[in-house]
């Protein structure tokens, strides 16, 4: 819109620059407001589909009643692994914009532990990029989960 004479050549891909990936390990709650802010931060005028994954603390796991969770991270390496994943996403889906935030510390049932947002021109890419990023995060980012039960606690995989 800023330069109408260039509308014809620039219409295919929006001329707004893609935002850099947002990567954080945080102790702050990932509440609705925080998730919305991430979505807004990755959404450009050329984004047609936004896929958000929110991982939430469930009340049960492996047949056991979970009362609460605690996440720990190796924060410097976690952020560098997340940056590596974001670079892979940018290479595979060049028009994507990505946010990945993982919360650590104590979490209650129903609270959000991780958010991944992918914004892309089309929905197929947005689903694929978001799924790729959360799968890669779970596979390689040094974060750990301790489940706290009625009668004990355990660091668990997955």
């Amino acid at each position: 819109m800023a330069d109408e004479t260039s509308a014809e050549t620039s219409a295919e891909t929006s001329e707004q620059a893609l935002p850099a990936p947002i990567i954080h390990i945080t102790r702050d709650p990932l509440d609705g407001e925080a998730i919305r802010a991430l979505e807004q931060a990755v959404t450009t005028a050329g984004a047609g589909g936004i896929v958000t994954f929110a991982g939430v603390v469930r009340d049960n796991a492996r047949g056991k009643r979970v009362r609460a969770l605690e996440y720990d991270a190796y924060p410097e390496m976690a952020e560098s692994e997340m940056a590596r994943i974001a670079a892979e996403v940018a290479q595979r889906w060049p028009e994507s914009a990505l946010a990945m935030v993982h919360r650590i510390g104590p979490l209650a049932i129903g609270e959000c532990s991780v958010v991944v947002v992918a914004a892309c021109p089309h929905r197929a890419e947005a689903f694929e990029a978001c799924r790729y990023a959360i799968d890669a995060l779970k596979a390689s980012v040094p974060i750990w989960k301790k489940e706290i039960y009625e009668d004990g606690q355990e660091w668990v995989e997955g």
Binding site: G55, D72, A73, Y74, S80, S140, V141
Partner: protein, 81 residues
Amino acid sequence: MQVRIRYFAALREAVGEAEEALDLPDGATVAQARGLLAERRPALAKLLPACAAAVNRGYAQAETPLSDGAELVFIPPLGGG
């Protein structure tokens, strides 16, 4: 030479500390550090075999050589997400 070991999650709880310095012969590998640590820290002996290793904040192989001042972290099975 000396490397800095940092502990997270189950390893930190087992050791009761967040980090320590480990003296190693020059040119020692990740595998040698792992062996030495299992001897010095009986609480870790059961946990270390399931751990990956990271040197200077990147995943490393057993045969990766360490250098003085490196940061070495044994990474228990991941639970992020």
